[in-house]
Symmetry: C2
Subunit: 205 residues, 2 copies
């Protein structure tokens, strides 16, 4: 425990390991990781075991739905099960993008998690996304409309373009979420591209 | 899985539980907790099990040193063991306050973790701190100097005052970290109390 240079290791190995594991989480730096580790050690045993158990349990129970690729304990997931037969599918990048739709309660169709968007610079090509599965599902379930909800970026646009091309000849309706000024925002803080798109897509009163 | 009102639970119970456990950590809100949970589920199994294991292992192995109350796997902790016989003790609020001293390499004496500072509004009285243990240790180990490193707050000041009073009559030397302008800061952004203290404690050139 006493290194060669005479200094003492203040943090024990298992504490240091816990700090490293927390620091590996996204958005958690070394300092926050250390704070979390101390917090965990300060809590009574019975209050902290649930965290470790929840991690293990979630990793064991939660799987990907084979139809829409969202997280679920059952396969197909509750949404795919309960909305079987719906003819509209909303294509999102990742599972968490489903939540705003469900929270708003505005949409009652199916979802499809693409698993990302095309991004050659990050090495994400069509083969890394669930594009073939989407095309197959559209055909096999007789989907009539696809709504792309992929966010607003050149990568998202080229992903939509590719899927649109793969579906050329198919009668399925395709739409994209409207681009424009978000609610509650002040115009002076909006970037130029958003203003440009909002201007081009201006709607009659 | 289909609630009475016809809406579908998007997140599975074990996913929801994981989100809640993350959100119970300090400084982690519901949104960050959700992001962490998705990250955990997205990682391959073998990369995430170490997190759960590290939590369990740290909780099992890391204890409080019976002499200084800092976290350690051994008792006494490495610092108390290797510096046995030192006559100076540095009193800190919590374990993490030891790190800046050890990182700076400026201090080679003992430490003592008080476990907090007096804060009647938060219900923290003398009985919640390790004050009797500190007094006992000072006597039994023949400590000659106490350095208070309790941060700069009225609560810290009243804690120091109480310990000072309990030691009245004892020949032990007591000192407090200097208060003043921190390194690298611009005077215009320093609060008045800090400026006042720095002015009062100004040192000759």
């Amino acid at each position: 425990m006493l290194p060669m240079d005479g200094t003492v290791m203040v943090e024990s190995p298992s504490l240091e390991k816990l700090v490293q594991e927390f620091a590996a989480l996204p958005g958690i730096g070394k300092k926050t990781a250390r704070r979390l580790a101390y917090f965990v050690l300060n809590r009574p045993r019975q209050n902290i075991e649930p965290l470790a158990a929840a991690i293990t349990e979630a990793c064991e129970k939660v799987k990907r739905c084979s139809l829409c690729h969202s997280f679920a304990e059952e396969d197909p997931c509750p949404i795919c099960q309960s909305r079987r037969g719906a003819k509209t599918i909303c294509v999102v990048e990742k599972f968490s993008d489903i939540l705003p739709f469900e929270n708003a309660g505005i949409y009652h169709g199916l979802y499809f998690v693409l698993g990302g968007v095309l991004s050659p610079l990050d090495g994400i090509g069509p083969e890394n996304l669930h594009i073939p599965q989407l095309i197959r599902r559209i055909a096999s379930e007789g989907i009539e409309e696809i709504i792309f909800a992929l966010g607003s970026s050149p990568e998202a646009d080229s992903t939509i373009l590719l899927i649109d091309k793969l579906l050329s000849g198919s009668p399925v309706k395709r739409s994209n979420l409207a681009r424009g000024i978000p609610m509650g925002s002040e115009l002076e803080y909006i970037d130029e591209v958003t203003v440009l798109r909002a201007f081009e897509s201006r709607t009659g009163l």
